[in-house]
Symmetry: C2
Subunit: 377 residues, 2 copies
């Protein structure tokens, strides 16, 4: 019996230190003890998000926090622009439509980013857009977008920019304040190595000002209420106490390693996996790959069979393609608590699977490339 390991871009493996913390006795949330934990967690989130803006914790998945951002910043009928380049960036469009917004999109082929110049053209073609909703790393395709340039363009046109940073926080260089990102949304089960169920977002002064005059009906996701409550160290509803305690510990681990080192580890792991993929004569799917996951083109409909073999024989869970990419790609997640040796685990098992299935002739080229990349040979 092998022990099993997740290499999926969310949920990600949760380090034992985090799980141990969450396994402690329950504490009450209306206490100084919990308020201190919440305050420190928020301060540490602000550090890793590189912002002095207030950050709010929300008891929901990342999608709930996306919705919270949208309903608090917009009015029904208002014109907004969404960049669509995969399943999760498309979700912005779905939420906006559910709330009766007038949604324009700027689209890229799945596998490519929306280029800043495309955004600029779209904003020119759609005057009156108040908010741009975009995505830093599109998890379904493994694509990274240049949200720094996008923010500059959006602001030049008088629009705010709301960024889904769900799979980029702690995995990519993400400078909320220096880049002027008005809202950044994140969630627990990604780079911050905690189980799912807790999301967070930051709000710039401009976003807070916009909230005053905007807003759809909201109660649970009313960010004004959350903000006022957080300012007193409190939360409007019962928070997911265990998950907050877990995130608190995970952020301590990230601070101990150092944010820059954590991001550089993600970049190095991602580069190494791409080197191995190419050494195996396979194609990396995205044209501009993110650090969260490596999407790999799998020819001849073998993708799901590879995933099944990897799990059944080697105990390794990787992700498949979603929607139009189903059966066409696999995605190796390396977001969160993964080190060199973990990358050898997943790549060696992946290469063994290809060999078992007769999809490569000779073995060892993938792990060799991995080794050489890690040693910069």
């Amino acid at each position: 019996m092998r022990s099993r390991q997740l290499f999926t871009p969310g949920p990600t493996e949760v380090p034992w230190r985090v799980r141990e913390k969450m396994a402690g006795p329950m504490i009450h949330h209306r206490t100084e003890e919990f308020r201190a934990i919440q305050r420190e967690t928020i301060d540490d989130l602000r550090e890793v998000m590189r912002t002095r803006n207030p950050v709010m914790l929300l008891a929901c998945s990342g999608t709930g926090a996306m919705e919270a951002a949208l309903v608090n910043l917009t009015k029904p009928g208002e014109k907004v622009l969404v960049t669509v380049l995969g399943k999760f960036s498309h979700r912005w469009k779905e939420i906006a439509e559910a709330y009766g917004l007038d949604v324009a999109t700027v689209d890229a082929r799945w596998g490519d980013p929306v280029r800043p110049e495309d955004l600029e053209r779209a904003l020119g073609a759609h005057p009156g857009v108040g908010v741009v909703f975009t995505t830093h790393a599109e998890t379904s395709t493994g694509v990274l977008q240049d949200v720094e340039s996008m923010a500059r363009i959006a602001h030049a046109k008088g629009a705010l920019i709301v960024v889904d940073g769900i799979t980029s926080v702690c995995a990519e260089k993400l400078e909320t304040d220096a880049w002027g990102l008005d809202v950044v949304v994140g969630s627990s089960q990604k780079g911050v190595m905690t189980p799912p169920g807790l999301a967070f977002l930051s709000l710039s002064d401009a976003a807070r000002a916009r909230m005053e005059g905007a807003g759809q009906p909201a109660y649970y996701f009313d960010l004004k209420r959350a903000l006022a409550s957080h300012e007193k160290g409190d939360s409007p509803w019962t928070p997911p106490i265990g998950l907050v305690m877990g995130l608190h510990e995970a952020l301590k681990m990230i601070k101990e390693e150092g944010l820059e080192s954590v991001i550089e580890r993600h970049a190095r792991n991602a580069r190494a996996v791409r080197a191995a993929v190419r050494a195996l004569d396979l194609e990396v799917f995205p044209s501009v790959p993110a650090n969260c996951t490596t999407a790999i083109v799998i020819p001849d409909g073998h993708a799901e069979q590879i995933r099944k073999h990897l799990y059944d024989v080697y105990g390794i869970r990787i992700a498949g393609g979603q929607e139009r990419l189903k059966g066409k790609i696999v995605r190796i997640g390396h977001l969160g608590h993964y080190f060199e040796s973990d990358i050898f685990t997943v790549v060696s098992s992946f290469e063994s699977t290809l060999l078992d299935m007769g999809l490569v002739a000779a073995g060892g080229r993938g792990v060799e490339a991995l080794f050489r990349e890690f040693h910069e040979m």
Copy 2:
């Protein structure tokens, strides 16, 4: 250094079996392994809620599930009726107003339930009410309401009834189907002994039919989407995987003990605490007490001092009064995983606190009454 213990009506103590399960390795939610856990969890919830209706899991606090029920069953401007008898029943009114409903209320003094005849009169005075929003056990006052009779009255007037069962599921007799409750809302950190962050609700056929023609804008809380996804064993968004695994284990424990035994244990613990309170010459606050918590009137402004002493000296956390009851009552929670010996822990510490503070003359009457009540002497 004493170990500390929670006697609050949510969050409640989480049994080690549940915490141990949540401390295991993370699993992925888009797998047969997780789908089986989710299916069993939902089936077990249906058993403890005594319903054949579909039950949905939502990644949010109980308030989020209340909002989900309301936004899916109503239209802006529609007339609804809310029973208001404390902080949490008042929340129905706040949510309804946030969504632009025309809200009528039927109020009771905090400490009393709304009587079924009051509801009947109110429905007579407000024709055209489509949905009644009510509360089984009002946690802020410790009051139990007769939702069985209320359901009969609401249905006779052609209205649906939506019940906040957050502190009553697994603690009170609650017959969703036999009483005809159209929606029952629950959450994890209460009688089902799991950390906060996971809520659930059941939907009757009539509620589902109403959803077809009603509904406010919703995405994260779109129950049609949740229902369709659950029917395939799936969930629309990333679920709080660890909490679902915890709830799965907690419900196994409840089934092992037997639902009736669990509810009878709650009733016995509540009776015993009330007997002790009266033996200490103190007044039980609610006129119709629920099993979740015992609210005790504390004269002369000593309530917060008692709570502080109990925690600082004896390591016991109990709840205080909220809003208009702040400083006037304390609430001993006995909801969830509490057995006779735990009740001795909290009552003996409470009685010691009163003695330490010079608020009772002779010691031992409370624990004696407790002992006699448990032994039916």
